[in-house]
Subunit: 431 residues, 2 copies
Amino acid sequence: MVPHLTTALTGPLQDLERRILERMPEIERWLRTQWQEHEVPFYASVDLRNAGFKLAPVDTNLFPGGFNNLNPSFLPLCVQAIQTAVERVCPDARGVLLIPENHTRNQFYLRNVATLESILRQAGMRVRIGSLNPEITQVTKIDLGDGNSLTLEPVQRNGRRVGLYDFDPCMVLVNNDLSAGPPQVLMNIDQPVVPPLAAGWYNRKKSHHFSAYSGVAEQFAALLGIDPWLIDPYFGVCGKIDFREQTGEECLASNVSHLLERIRAKYEEYGIDEKPFVIVKADAGTYGMGIMTVRDVDDVRDLNRKQRNKMAVVKEGLEVTQVIIQEGVPTFESINEAIAEPVVYMIDRFVVGGFYRVHTSRGKDENLNAPGAQFVPLAFESPCIPDLREPAGCAPNRFYAYGVVARLAQLAAALEIEELAAKPPAETVPA
Amino acid sequence: MVPHLTTALTGPLQDLERRILERMPEIERWLRTQWQEHEVPFYASVDLRNAGFKLAPVDTNLFPGGFNNLNPSFLPLCVQAIQTAVERVCPDARGVLLIPENHTRNQFYLRNVATLESILRQAGMRVRIGSLNPEITQVTKIDLGDGNSLTLEPVQRNGRRVGLYDFDPCMVLVNNDLSAGPPQVLMNIDQPVVPPLAAGWYNRKKSHHFSAYSGVAEQFAALLGIDPWLIDPYFGVCGKIDFREQTGEECLASNVSHLLERIRAKYEEYGIDEKPFVIVKADAGTYGMGIMTVRDVDDVRDLNRKQRNKMAVVKEGLEVTQVIIQEGVPTFESINEAIAEPVVYMIDRFVVGGFYRVHTSRGKDENLNAPGAQFVPLAFESPCIPDLREPAGCAPNRFYAYGVVARLAQLAAALEIEELAAKPPAETVPA
């Protein structure tokens, strides 16, 4: 089942894409070297935008949901990769405690947890699901509405170990983005926690991530001999924002206007006939909340109450006090006339699948991670291994470039985690 | 595309299969421990026979052909696994020299080489194909008749390194079973050669392999609390055989009669209503040559000239001087009424796929690796991960038991290689 993808690639990206495919051995080697120096995140998903002239990550999730949206034919790849990932953490592992998000009513998310559980079980692990939700005080079986069910159990702490009734796991795998802070029950325990608590959204900033990404993109661009801008979106940051009180608007306006100017210059350099835009996002936001498309500096000066309220609060009721203003990358991909953006999944250092996030009522310059989004799994290009050499009937592997850029974002996340883990959380809040 | 497999499983195997599925975490953990102690073969394929009451390997190939017979949806699994396998040999690898069999006219085999090349290339390696065939004195492009082609180049030796014109590889990957002996050009070189030359068929004996396998099967059976016979075929050996001169017939006859007796006893123990038979095979033979089904001890006493000639010589014209007499495992699997046996592929410690070898004109007690055999790729059980828990619409993963037994054979091969590599080839020829 290969989705019919209408790509309309023009300008430098076709060059870029071909260059990435041609340099595959060097790229894979370079990535191998990076993973010798930096600890690869256990898993990650990366949202990409493909503008034709530019291919860039726009969000990197270290606690990925959506495994249920992958094409089932990717699942064996997930199983194989997770075997390597778990072995890295505890070579003798049999027991994995999976910690999901607290919501017990979002069946889409719960199916993701069930898929993860199944992947781990297929890899030969004993896996049980421990909930941090205070409402889960006993073994709770949840029907997933697709014939499957999920069993949540209350997490128990025993000295410096965490587990469940009659279950002492070897490792704790977190699938909860920790927006609300590091859970007490998981702090100072002997078992390894992956990803580390320091990688939670209470502690991460998109701006840190993209700053790390810029460094990675620069190195990678040097390897390929290309302009880093082709894979890296410009961005700026404003701290001390209060949307409700309308403080910090000047910073926002000047950043927007500066970014629009820089983008315009690049568009001219490459002869790109597009209208520049930027995306304003909560610097610590997730779930596609607190996101706004800005096409003109006046847009941020005239926010009405509704817009301000929308921007002011993200997941778990957290106030937005800092925003990232990021170059918008228009998406040139559509499926059945709906705008589509690729989401790429990694486990350990392996690309294990992806899907298109599709939205029928959003434009090419808007956030698609919003209610109404649908998911179209990517399929393998049967019946041949897609390849640059294009033997009879085989298209070149367009997915390869996506897999490379997604792994660059994963590498940036690795650098980001190193930094976060090195300093206590308090210090990571910028002035 | 799931082939319709008519399985007719009776007696203890359903127990065995279920027990294997239930104990998956312990099994995977046990295998992990084994691979910490023993070097996993780079790749392998294992022919299995499933009798319903018994599931056992009958041949283990350390230089597997047939990658072209895998379902294309397995290929990404191969790519991911080979990345791990190559990294283990040379962490900084970019160049792999692939050494195929010498035949240049067997398009089926050459498509296997092309598939391997493609898998390596997709894993980010530079790969070129070096031929040992003395007729290949220059770059030779061979059309594969399917729109693809293969480029063979003469292998060059430069001091203690081997390579091709303008190509100094990091490792040498052998896909030639070395029936004719270790190639001079690959001896005493600085680059790693995998599998090691000592694993070539000039040096291997099926009896060594199955003797190592018996040890592995015994340990594994103890882990599961089962009779090792359920996964291990009985066997005996006769050296000093000369089929043309009719010497060694007495040894053959007494082994056959002894084995038939032991099998009969087991059949009685388990109430199996089958006629025991044994397979006589050249102890160093490959390619399904020099193989004979024996149902009665008189069968080996009255060999006619044609039968004797057939048994006397295997690949590369090697004389058969030693045979293994192995318990026959009838196959209970058939596809469209043709007898079928599963072939399972491993790369590194990962099961990466398999297919059914099918033969329309052979019986359930005969060798299927013969002219006229066809291949039916195994497909993934979409749309769910097959699992013991059998959620709605998901059959239990019958392939898992195959993957386990195949890996036991791979482990036996690892022990066998350790032993072969430890002593000089001459000493491995038994008296």
